[in-house]
């Protein structure tokens, strides 16, 4: 039986390796960092881990409704397609930095992309 995407990419260890890199990119990205200005960096990093586990096709308990609710506060603050694109860019750049093969990057991008309407509350 073929392994899941999550397994092929390296499971939790891969997510852990990606969290710091992804979070650093997001905090440094002037287009979107205002959404991530958490008071507590550890808590914010834990949330990035939730995001990455999801995008890596890993075990998670998020539904479309959760995505909607989870980002509703941000939509009120003006979250739109351009911000979504920026997150997609940072995700791809993180994976490239970790030398993830291009076909796996594409699979992950597709998972993240599938949430666009829920994240943007449409």
């Amino acid at each position: 039986m073929s392994q899941s995407l999550y397994e092929r990419i390296g499971g939790e260890a891969a997510v852990n390796a990606a969290v710091d890199i992804f979070y650093r990119k997001v905090l440094a990205d002037e287009r979107i960092n205002r959404f991530f200005e958490g008071v507590d960096m550890e808590k914010q990093a834990a949330k990035q881990k939730g995001f990455l586990t999801f995008a890596f096709g890993g075990p998670h308990h998020y539904t479309g409704k959760d995505m909607r609710q989870g980002h509703a506060r941000l939509v009120k603050q003006g979250l739109n397609d351009s911000h979504f694109d920026a997150v997609m860019e940072n995700l791809a750049a993180t994976l490239q930095e970790l030398n993830v093969p291009q076909n796996l990057i594409a699979e992950m991008a597709a998972i993240a992309e599938s949430t666009r309407n829920d994240v943007l509350g449409r």
């Binding site: 710091d20 979070y23 650093r24 905090l27």
Partner: protein, 358 residues
């Protein structure tokens, strides 16, 4: 809205309110100090119900397994029945003051003899208990080479415990302490790693311990300690730090004065800004940040953006709260009458904090 049951009474929590804020608002006396999930003074146990993970993240595994949690970090989504810890849960150790001297005009050094067997690492902290006030102080001593524990206490205007420690406590006084706590200490994972230590005020205490601990354990990578103060008079242990740098070529010490002044044995500017300008690339470094809470938080983020891994950044913000509740509500359960509105407390705490930011 979740309800909290405590000593046979039930209290409703407000929207997004912590168990600590909710109980103290109702006049229940719960010890607290930092009110930001660091000092562990407000530890309680859930007798019924499950506390949220965030309220248990920083406590010892053995306490977590028994449903202990930090009340100031606990915003439950379900009802909880809670209890204060018993004396056996949070053991207090007696410690006798064996030395007391001034490090500068407002920082006192205390040396304490504890019962043998206190296992700790330089840079951790203890909670001192005195007269119902509990405050955290960092450990500046190195257990391998020193048979006392050392604290550096900065005098805070109208400060209850720091004032008492400066003015009343003398050699021979017996103190009651809890700990060690916290994970801001040197771990010998890679002796070649570069270490950056930044502290302001008595934030030098843990760093003085951590630097000497690392050197005593044979750390061979570069260690650079930056100590900041607003005035030159606020610097201390300069001779000892310079002597340490003489003895250890891989140790470097830079004193910084942010409030202006004439040039001396120090650089002009804020310690954190000078340090990050000297080292704009921190990939692979271990970073220790102690003292003023705003300095610690800003620098933590900057160090992370400069490439340090989150797990390699150890931070001890010396958090305090404007009106710690314990000492304010001596009358328990006088419903509704006793409290300063929380919003006002918060606002006060914020203005004081920004004023305190050096």
């Amino acid at each position: 809205m979740p309800h909290i049951r405590f000593e046979h009474r039930t209290y409703a929590l407000g929207d997004n309110e912590s168990v600590l804020d909710g109980l103290t608002r109702h006049g229940v006396s719960v010890p607290s100090s930092c009110r930001s999930g660091i000092c562990q003074t407000c530890i309680m146990r859930a007798v019924q119900g499950t506390p949220p993970p965030a309220s248990q993240a920083s406590i010892k595994e053995s306490l977590r397994a028994r449903n202990f949690f930090l009340a100031c970090a606990c915003k439950p989504t379900e009802d909880l029945e809670v209890a204060l810890p018993g004396n056996d849960d949070i053991p207090l150790t007696a410690a006798e003051v064996i030395g007391k001297d001034a490090l500068n005009h407002d920082i006192t050094r205390l040396r304490l003899r504890t019962q043998p067997g206190l296992v700790y690492r330089a840079g951790q902290f203890v909670n001192l208990h005195h007269d119902e006030v509990v405050r955290s102080y960092s450990l500046a001593s190195v257990p391998q080479t020193e048979d006392f524990i050392e604290l550096h206490v900065q005098r805070i205007a109208h400060g209850r415990l720091s004032g008492w420690l400066h003015d009343e406590c003398t050699v021979g006084t017996t103190l009651s302490l809890q700990g060690p706590l916290g994970d801001c200490y040197y771990s010998k994972s890679d002796v070649n790693q570069a270490l950056l230590l930044i502290g302001t005020g008595s934030g030098l205490a843990p760093l003085w311990g951590i630097a000497r601990d690392a050197l005593a354990q044979g750390h061979s990578g570069p260690i650079h300690l930056f100590h900041g103060s607003r005035t030159a008079a606020g610097l201390y242990l300069m001779d000892a730090l310079q002597a340490l740098a003489q003895r250890h070529p891989n140790f470097q010490y830079t004193a910084c004065v942010s409030g202006g002044g004439t040039q001396g044995d120090y650089r002009l500017g804020r310690a954190n800004e000078i340090a990050l300008a000297d080292y704009p690339q921190l990939k692979g470094w271990q970073v220790f940040l102690c003292g003023n809470a705003d300095m610690v938080k800003t620098t933590k983020k900057k160090a992370f953006l400069a490439g340090a891994a989150l797990k390699d950044i150890h931070a001890d913000p010396f958090e305090f709260s404007a009106t710690p509740s314990t000492e304010q509500h001596h009358t328990e359960q006088d419903h509704g009458l006793s409290c300063t509105p929380l919003a006002a407390q918060r606002a006060l705490s914020l203005t004081q904090r920004s004023r305190a930011a050096d």
